[in-house]
């Protein structure tokens, strides 16, 4: 056979390095945007960075961030969960109702009950998607209304007030540990746990694989149905948790808790760089996206921008995020196409 002499060893392709860095670039980009926004607002009004205001910002971001983490898990698999707002609402109302019925319930049990309720509702989503073979968008659009309907039926116009809930529980919504709000610590714990799982466990990597190419996932023997089901259960469970935290933070709950928040959540995820077609992005990005959206809402009034412009600002941000993603991925794709095999 012919002999092949070894070409000089070429350093690894620029593309690989760039692709690796692209993740960082993406999350750094959001962090930078956030920093810039805070700095500008601070310059206009130094009170924007008072301890109290920072605490409010963190508190405000918490619930959205938890929902965004759950949503990111689902979006990574090339699905979407529009029912999270309704799940949050049901879970929040259930929390209040349970306190009314059994005033002595320990907080830990309350949290578990919320998570369990959310998980069951998530399982309904996942089960429908797996059995009916209907796209998640349609199924969760349906359950968005169904779950909210259940909430209305249950609440029948009632409202549960702070007085109905134990003070210890309500304090959880405002307390701080070493200056950090307890709720934000919840969100951070959830974020780190999920982020670690997605990066370091087979199940987590398979979620990315499914979103990256569903057909190839099937051919590779990945239990795609089971994994997607689990993703919806996780998203539901996190929405359930968010519902309990919502009750603790706001104290008064009616059947409208979390109404319309699903679009905010999807916006946070997209702004955070999770590709809507699945396969890429991280929960860290999604959480940063949630913080950024919340901060914008808080900053615009300080900057003297009319609330009418808030929606437009969020919209512009989403478009900018998508534009940035396109530009980045085009760059990466370009350099990835550089000669990548060399013979030894």
């Amino acid at each position: 056979m012919m002999t092949v002499d070894a070409p000089p060893v070429r350093p690894q392709t620029r593309g690989a390095r760039l692709a690796r860095r692209a993740f960082l670039v993406r999350e750094l980009g959001i962090a930078l945007a956030l920093g810039l926004l805070v700095a500008v607002t601070f310059a206009v009004n130094p009170r924007f960075l008072s301890a109290q205001n920072i605490k409010d910002l963190l508190l405000g971001s918490t619930i959205l961030a938890i929902l965004a983490v759950g949503q990111a898990i689902v979006v990574i698999t090339r699905n979407v969960d529009l029912s999270v707002g309704s799940i949050l609402g049901l879970s929040a109302f259930a929390t209040g109702a349970l306190f009314v019925a059994a005033p002595g319930t320990p907080i830990a049990v309350m949290l578990l009950a919320g998570v369990a309720l959310g998980a069951v509702l998530g399982a309904v989503n996942g089960g429908l998607i797996a059995t009916a073979k209907v796209p998640a968008l349609v199924v969760t659009l349906g359950t968005l209304y169904v779950f909210r309907g259940l909430d209305y039926m249950w609440a029948t116009g009632r409202q549960i007030n702070a007085a109905d809930m134990p003070p210890g529980f309500l304090r959880m919504g405002t307390d701080t540990v070493l200056g950090m709000p307890v709720l934000a610590l919840f969100a951070a714990a959830v974020l780190i746990a999920v982020g670690y799982y997605l990066r370091h466990y087979r199940g987590g990597r398979e979620l990315y694989a499914i979103g990256s190419d569903p057909a190839a996932a099937r051919l590779s023997g990945i239990p795609a149905g089971r994994r997607v089901f689990a993703a919806f259960v996780a998203s539901g469970a996190l929405a359930g948790l968010a519902g309990v935290l919502h009750a603790a933070r706001f104290g008064t709950i009616d059947a409208n808790a979390g109404l319309g928040s699903e679009l905010n959540v999807v916006a946070a995820v997209v702004v955070g760089g999770v590709a809507i077609f699945g396969g890429s992005g991280s929960v860290y990005g999604a959480a940063l996206g949630a913080v950024l959206l919340t901060t914008i809402r808080a900053a615009l009034p300080v900057l003297g921008i009319s609330p009418f412009w808030q929606g437009a600002a969020v919209g512009a941000l989403i478009l900018a995020a998508i534009g940035l993603d396109r530009a980045l991925s085009a760059r990466v794709a370009r350099s990835l196409r550089e000669r990548n095999v060399t013979h030894v």
């Binding site: 087979r202 694989a209 099937r218 023997g221 990945i222 990466v332 794709a333 030894v344």
Partner: protein, 498 residues
């Protein structure tokens, strides 16, 4: 010796199409077995049944004397069957190493993935295959050949007892094929059974001890390679005499049609210059990764060029503008049909007429009649085997998809035709037909630029062979002097032939 794996009475239909009928196949440990047949003969269907992707309508699979029932790809894998599918099944967003080990990544404490070990093992596999591919890069953007190399690494990493390879070499050139064979022979000699599918007979005869021929979903024969000849196998495949190679018809070489001067893309290729005249077929040869596909992508304007110019009939083309390239009369048949050639969900006729929608419109409206007539003409010339032209392309066999890609671009009546691996996965009969077509087009004055990894095709078709090595043009060999050795030497960078 009893067979390691036996398939018996296997049948499978897709609607009215009987893809497999009562097929029997025996694979022995320590032996490589070839499966050959025309496009649509049912080879890939058999592979997918063996992989647990499709349940058979009837028939049994026996492994080691035990009946084997497969309810999914995971079952086949745990039974020790490794499969390389005809179409790469990679996850573009995951790293190359993860693609190889997905679902069975090496673990460390707490069942966490051991990233370092995974990377090291991937690098080891590539070293065995003799290629240097960064395990950390995402699979997105890999060329078809590189994707196939990753698939091969994935399959051999399974240390399987049965290794099934559906056209693994279709995009590889001689050197990579030889490396693949060396690894395959080692696995075979260690006792594995190998099922090898290819339309390249030299490979089949070099690797396999037994050959099974299929036609129209049925097994025609199984024989020992030593007692067979290429002609005999081809005859059984198509059921009639065909010449395996088309003799190129002479064409008058005319004016320069496509001129490329000093074409450069930093880090990919540099200073590429050549001219293709009307009536001429110029082949671009070289090893996988030499930069051939990248050069034609830059010519067509898919990728931006950093320096140099491209002229069609003396008029310069703007940089990175495919629309202008198409308008100037260039057509490009890409190598990666799944990503660049076809819309898998659309019908055959819709795909075949996509690039010439405007030519088929009357007053801005597209009449279905015109569309299906045009499609039918080309589908017939290329013998596309589809139940109906309205079927989605995804349901066609691999080779037939390739024919649709060709039909799509040939129907645009180009002045410069660039084809990248035009006969990848196409069977002998149609290969000759494609060659005849290219030859006729050239005779009609079209300038043809062809990238091909198949040396006989290059030598048989080209008026001139350009050879690339490591991003540079190392040889320009006229037909009279083009021989296997001259091309290979230039492709491996050992000689700069005149």
């Amino acid at each position: 010796m009893p067979p390691l794996l036996t398939l018996d009475g296997l049948s499978k239909s897709f609607g009215a199409v009987a893809a497999l009928q009562d097929v029997r196949l025996e694979l022995f440990g320590g032996e490589a077995h070839a499966l050959v047949g025309e496009n649509g003969a049912g080879k890939s269907t058999l592979v997918k049944i063996l992989a647990g992707v499709y349940p058979p309508d009837a028939g049994t699979i026996t492994l080691d004397g035990q009946p084997l029932s497969l309810s999914g790809p995971a079952d086949a894998r745990s039974a020790g069957i490794a499969v390389i599918y005809q179409e790469p099944t990679l996850f573009p967003d995951l790293s190359v190493a993860e693609n190889i080990f997905i679902g069975r990544q090496p673990l460390r404490s707490l069942r966490r993935i051991d990233l370092a070990k995974m990377r090291a093992r991937a690098a080891e596999l590539f070293a065995r295959l003799g290629v240097r591919l960064d395990p950390d890069r995402p699979a997105r953007g890999l060329s078809i050949a590189d994707q196939q190399l990753v698939e091969i690494a994935k399959a051999i990493s399974l240390e399987a007892r049965v290794l099934v390879m559906d056209e693994p070499t279709a995009a590889l050139s001689g050197v990579e094929v030889e490396r693949l064979f060396a690894v395959t022979r080692a696995l075979r000699d260690a006792g594995a059974a190998v099922l090898f599918i290819s339309h390249r007979f030299d490979e089949v005869f070099a690797l396999c001890q037994r050959i099974t021929v299929m036609r129209d979903g049925r097994r025609v024969s199984t024989g020992v390679t030593q007692s067979l000849t290429v002609d005999a196998v081809v005859r059984q495949m198509v059921g009639r005499e065909v010449s395996a190679m088309f003799d190129k018809q002479p064409a008058a070489i005319g004016e320069p049609r496509l001129e490329v001067r000093g074409l450069t893309r930093h880090g990919v290729f540099a200073d590429i210059g050549f001219t293709v005249h009307s009536g001429e077929i110029v082949a671009l040869a070289g090893l996988v990764g030499a930069g051939r596909s990248e050069v034609i992508r830059a010519i067509f304007g898919i990728d931006r060029r950093d320096a140099g110019e491209v002229l069609v009939d003396g008029a310069a083309l703007p940089n990175a503008d495919t629309a202008a390239a198409i308008k100037a009369g260039i057509a490009l048949v890409p190598e990666d049909r799944r990503q660049q050639g076809l819309v898998m969900e659309l019908s055959v006729e819709r795909n075949a007429t996509l690039p010439r929608r405007w030519a088929l419109t009357r007053a801005g409206l597209l009449f279905p009649g015109a569309e299906s007539r045009a499609a039918a003409t080309w589908a017939q010339r290329l013998q596309v085997k589809a139940a109906r032209l309205t079927d989605p392309v995804a349901t066609l066999s691999g080779g037939n998809q390739q024919k649709v890609v060709l039909a799509k671009w040939l129907a645009t009546a180009p002045r410069v035709l660039i084809v990248d691996e035009p006969t990848r996965g196409i069977d002998v009969g149609t290969k000759a037909e494609v060659h005849r077509l290219l030859s006729t087009l050239a005779a009609d004055g079209v300038a043809v630029l062809m990238v091909s990894s198949e040396l006989p095709e290059v030598l048989g078709m080209a008026d001139r062979v350009l050879v690339m090595h490591e991003g540079r043009l190392t040889a320009d060999i006229p037909r009279a002097r083009a021989g296997e050795e001259a091309v290979m030497l230039a492709a491996t960078g050992q000689a700069a032939a005149a």
